[in-house]
Symmetry: C3
């Protein structure tokens, strides 16, 4: 059994942004030499998500608008009594989930034809981190 | 460490449908000979989900109605400018999540008494695929 | 490859409650002797969730209020024809997801600075169970 752990850093230009990280995840899998196993891709912050969906501008825009409808920015969240202003980003992180597991088969990410891996930043413009951990043989 | 990878195909009669796949997942685990480990059950399409819940007609109907309330069909999604009409299915896939990990203990799915594994089709009536990958020893 | 499986039991005072279980998960990882791997933390009931977020009273209150907005208690769910009254807890379980995978690095939970693991009880005041399963080397 082998493992490899790597971290990606982000510092997005926008407050909210989706970043396609499929190639970066594949690079870590290739570097690990693991042929059969799982790769965990997991945000290390509580105001970000990770999800698998389509690399198409329209749906990415729809997903971000939907996040705002279901988990809207509001001033009166209780979390804001601490001086924070990002409670909506916590809710969005729960809605999208903060991690995915991608199966690795014959050394490749075993994704469907349209599946791409995205980092979902909901409170950006500062340095944030994500873990990629591969385990297998 | 051992792994086994199998794929299930679906072609649902209805556009939206929940399919109980617990027995199929157990069969793959049994075939793998793995006694202790994890089995990943993951949709390979971006308009489908996988979830664990109750095999009871009422709650399955409630869940599908709730999906439509939270991630409704609408004509004016930006994704539809590509000619597609299934943006709501992408949102529903995010809401339900597209995968679960089931623990395997003594060769069996280690589920609670009411837990069953479902494939959630949100844009069916065409061939779609799911991966079941077991890893353990 | 090693594994260790443990179960936690809950019997919450309130119907709905978030319980920080980070220390319990770390204890199981330490007991396993596993240095590199994954730990699965998964509710064994269909009316509970597991999530990673912030140990801050305000956001925990915001999250519970949000759960009630998005997946409200209602009398007229179809599930209630069975005599049950907890359909909203099933929906909340889907919204929050019922499990997380935490990476284990050098024998420790590899979490970001604010990440804590919570058991989310949405239909409590009775005995319920959660599985913690570590796999690695």
């Amino acid at each position: 059994m082998k493992t490899l752990t790597e971290y990606l850093w982000f510092n997005t230009k926008n407050k909210k942004e989706f970043i396609n990280i499929t190639d970066e995840v594949q690079k870590v899998v290739t570097k690990s030499g693991i042929k059969e196993g799982f790769v965990l891709v997991s945000a290390m912050h509580i105001t970000a998500g990770v999800f698998v969906n389509d690399e198409e501008e329209g749906i990415k825009s729809d997903l971000m608008e939907w996040a705002e409808v279901i988990a809207p920015f509001r001033k009166d969240y209780k979390h804001h009594r601490t001086g924070e202003s990002n409670a909506d980003a916590h809710l969005k992180s729960i809605l999208f989930h903060h991690q995915v597991i991608v199966p690795v088969t014959k050394g490749e990410l075993d994704l469907g034809p349209w599946q791409q891996i995205f980092y979902a930043e909901f409170d950006g413009q500062r340095r944030k981190r994500l873990i990629i951990k591969v385990m297998g043989g």
